[in-house]
Symmetry: C2
Subunit: 230 residues, 2 copies
């Protein structure tokens, strides 16, 4: 029986954009594992699998349920050790947390400010109500205020990518000679922006762009199976 991966979607169930779910998708593909993708809107997530998790990704593998993208990667690494490694050893497993930290504390907040109003507009009506209320409270601004500032935010965005550019001077992937989960961590963030944002945040001549395009080509081009917003 294939695994089931539950992931967030917009009003169109084929438009799925969660950065964390994309990390899990790429991890499953990297391991060469079969899975069924079940898209769910925000407000249906708490009902999944008896209320197992308030967030997605949520993975069912036989009788096992695993939530959180990093925990899913750790689970897959431990349960399917014969498949290609997601971390390249214990040091890589530890250091991937640093890249997760960079992604979630530097890149995610910036993409949120750039794309939050666009994300709202991709959602089904019930989800829109939930999303506006929670995001406006969290960000202390209306979606309209955030939208009006998105080009300024997008213009400041490229300077945050210096640590990635530095790494790509030495190697083609953040994981070294080939991609590892650490690539998928940052891919998830840029894919989230690609699928939702009405402004393109990566310049054509940026080495980060080149790396991102190569990520989109991985695993049968699964990243390109959802169209770009901009």
């Amino acid at each position: 029986m294939p695994m089931i991966l539950y992931g967030l979607c917009g009003e169109d169930p084929s438009v799925h954009f969660s950065p964390h779910v994309w990390k899990a998708i790429m991890a499953l593909r990297h391991k060469g594992l079969d899975y069924e993708f079940h898209p769910v809107p925000f407000t249906e997530i708490p009902k999944l699998e008896g209320g197992f998790s308030p967030t997605v990704p949520l993975l069912r593998d036989g009788d096992t349920l695993v939530r959180d993208s990093f925990d899913i990667a750790l689970y897959l690494e431990k349960s399917y050790p014969e498949a290609p490694s997601l971390f390249g050893g214990e040091g890589g497993q530890a250091m991937a947390r640093f890249v997760e930290g960079f992604s979630q504390t530097v890149i995610h907040p910036a993409i949120t400010r750039i794309a939050v109003a666009d994300i709202h507009n991709l959602l089904a009506p019930t989800d829109r109500v939930y999303f506006r209320k929670t995001r406006e409270a969290r960000l202390s601004q209306t979606l309209e205020e955030l939208a009006s500032n998105r080009f300024t935010e997008a213009a400041e965005f490229p300077r945050k990518l210096e640590p990635i550019r530095h790494t790509l001077k030495f190697q083609p992937w953040l994981g070294g000679d080939g991609p590892l989960f650490v690539d998928y961590i940052l891919f998830g963030a840029f894919q989230w922006a690609r699928v939702t944002a009405s402004v393109d945040i990566l310049k054509a001549d940026d080495p980060v762009r080149t790396w991102f395009e190569r990520c989109l080509d991985l695993h049968g081009g699964i990243g390109r199976s959802v169209r770009a917003a901009a």
Copy 2:
């Protein structure tokens, strides 16, 4: 014959503060290798070992010369594989480049702006002339202008450390259960600030502070062998 490590020093040869040299010191200690430390002022570096390198650290191991802290770590990992690993596998070796990128593009520029005038004051007279000229050109400000802004810079500094704090929520070291070269990369930056800056940049209750103090205790407390400036 023990190895020779050449490192930068101030007017007092015991005050050595280069972040890159500290990375090399910690890497040698981690591997349990014997070395002699040869402190040199800025303007003597180009004369070392027949002009082998314009910068330190510079390591002599028998007939082999190696420059650049990351290259020294790679050299030690390859040449002394039986000693404790600096990277914890190939994935860790690749991902350490990302942490180097974060350190050198986010943390180093901030510490430079905070400490550059203090560093100048630690140098011997000939070095002061060289240092003022090169740093004022690079930073497009006088040392006095930079010094007058250092408290503002220092106040903004802690928010740059979120990726480190995120990592330390999951594990005691950036390298995981124990320190790896990745810890020494960021240790080097904070040690540089500790030895030179007239303002303390890490708050007492910051988890990054706790981790840094543990780094100072490593390898016989070698990091504490040079006194703090503030």
